[in-house]
Symmetry: C2
Subunit: 336 residues, 2 copies
């Protein structure tokens, strides 16, 4: 294994000089810098990560803590993870993958052992047991999602409240008067997951303030459950002409169910999905949708964490604005 001393010897300089060339923390004359860099290249030198972490008190690794529960849509999780890794690399950091199932002890271990410089936690719940622990940790962290008591933490998320509102406003603009929201499975709401509730709140508040009739509720996954739910819905409220669905796994089934009960999309019923673009595009008809900007959230989370590692101040909460893309599943409602 080549060490920094090997490089120094090869270039005819002191090890510290090589170090400064690499870190740029002191000025090095252009000529020696070139010489050192050449030696590094010909020897194929890579600094020893452990030694570097020991001496500098920085590992250049961040932890990504994924939840492993029902109700999370896996492809979105993955998209997110990938964007975290990619962005972290741009900041010369690597990503350690953790799952929540090791519990708080795992977080403490990782943080206390200086294995990572900071943490990114996904899918934070309103009353997440990891949050109090995070406060005791001396490492900076960024949360995806909002706990009940976010003071002093850094949180990023899509602004789901505004997402709910955007859907209603779009439908209102098209002349719809009676709406329904199909949300995540009941378990997700019961767990107190913030994003599901906030969407619903945005949806209901906006509908109320616009004087529309609206009902919202959870929706279990699976073809039959959705079918059932749709039948109920139209039995109770036959006048519904706008449906918002906030559950990717259910989108296809919803469309099938609407077909089965004889409601055409968008002629009879307009549908908006809150989901990744690919899901919306693949559907028949292509769905008007508010996308969950997984990549953007991941990128943003890493940026914030890097700023914190540099001891810069960052905003407590970053809400990414929703983006509504109009496709073929929404149409004006004419009031005959």
């Amino acid at each position: 294994m080549t060490t920094i001393s090997d490089v120094a010897r090869h270039a005819g300089v002191a090890p510290s000089t090589v170090s400064y060339v690499l870190s740029g923390k002191r000025a090095i004359s252009s000529t020696t810098r070139q010489r050192v860099l050449a030696s590094i290249r010909t020897l194929g030198y890579h600094p020893h990560a452990g030694a570097r972490a020991l001496a500098s008190n920085r590992s250049n690794v961040i932890a990504l803590v994924l939840p492993l529960r029902a109700g999370m849509h896996v492809p979105v999780l993955m998209q997110f993870a990938v964007s975290v890794v990619t962005t972290a690399r741009q900041f010369d950091h690597d990503v350690l993958l953790m799952t929540s199932d090791e519990g708080p002890g795992g977080l403490r271990r990782i943080a206390a052992s200086s294995l990572v410089d900071g943490l990114i936690l996904m899918d934070v719940e309103l009353h997440d047991p990891r949050v109090p622990l995070l406060r005791t940790l001396e490492r900076p962290s960024v949360l995806i999602g909002f706990p009940a008591e976010p003071a002093g933490l850094t949180c990023v998320d899509l602004d789901f409240y505004r997402a709910g509102r955007a859907c209603v406003e779009h439908l209102a603009g098209l002349g719809h008067r009676e709406l329904a929201l199909l949300g995540a499975p009941a378990a997700v709401y019961e767990r107190g997951t913030g994003f599901a509730r906030r969407t619903m709140a945005g949806f209901l508040d906006t509908a109320r303030s616009l004087g529309m009739r609206a009902k919202a509720g959870p929706c279990e996954e699976g073809a039959t459950a959705v079918h059932q739910r749709v039948i109920e819905l139209f039995a109770e409220s036959p006048a519904i002409t706008g449906v918002v669905v906030h559950n990717e796994a259910v989108v296809e089934y919803l469309l099938a169910a609407l077909r089965l009960v004889g409601r055409r999309v968008p002629d009879d019923v307009s549908v908006i999905a809150i989901c990744p673009d690919e899901v919306a595009e693949r559907a028949m008809p292509a769905l008007t949708s508010v996308l969950i900007p997984a990549e953007e959230v991941g990128t943003q989370a890493v940026r914030l964490l890097m700023r914190k590692l540099d001891e810069q101040r960052v905003p407590d909460s970053s809400l990414l604005p929703p983006r509504l893309t109009v496709r073929s599943s929404t149409a004006p409602q004419d009031h005959r």
Copy 2:
């Protein structure tokens, strides 16, 4: 931060003694061990990962290299990643997440910097550019999937050849005589991905040896593409009574398409899917399936890597046997 010397002082022993208590590499009397462990607990000591890596030449971290291409089913990827993380933890290792898109340089960097002790690469292709590099690396590695020239490497995978065979044998046993295989999108075959081809080979070889008529081909994703393909298929070979589908993303559409062309499952056509159990169970009707044992593959990959890290010899290739679960989508074929 508490160091090993703090613990030693607190327990009234030498730092080396604490180290030996932790590693178990030398006998320590039970009384001092207890005393040291107590000090560790009360001080909340966690060894510094970097220092440990530097001194011991072992980081206790392994790299998981995920591919980021089209044609991979993401939930399976995730399932796999989770099982790798969980198993690695059982061996007291953590997992560094990498994506292939940093290219071979990324692998070299990670390996040469002693950031990781070993690597697990997913979704290896027949002519994977990472494979030759791997041979030059001094770190052990395990591959998921098989390259064209696997000599000297350690590879794990489902035995897709036997999976293809199992499907045909099951259908043959039910009296079917004419079969079709819907595979992955054409791009996957063109890339030379081993698993897709091996399934097809197992399928065709077995059908031939049993004297059955069989055709196999790629299948694009998306409702319309699948619909199209199904219409073609039955136009060319109206006598087909058994369909094997090796593409999770297509399963639902296939069932819909069969419905549309008026073939009932399993009365008219028996269907077997090669997919995760959840996909098979959720379908209507529940599908007879050969599952891709993502968890098992992940666990096995980590086990093998750990053995290699211990300098033990391991088999060059581990093929996990397919498991066919009979559900409601296959039925006997009566020859009227």
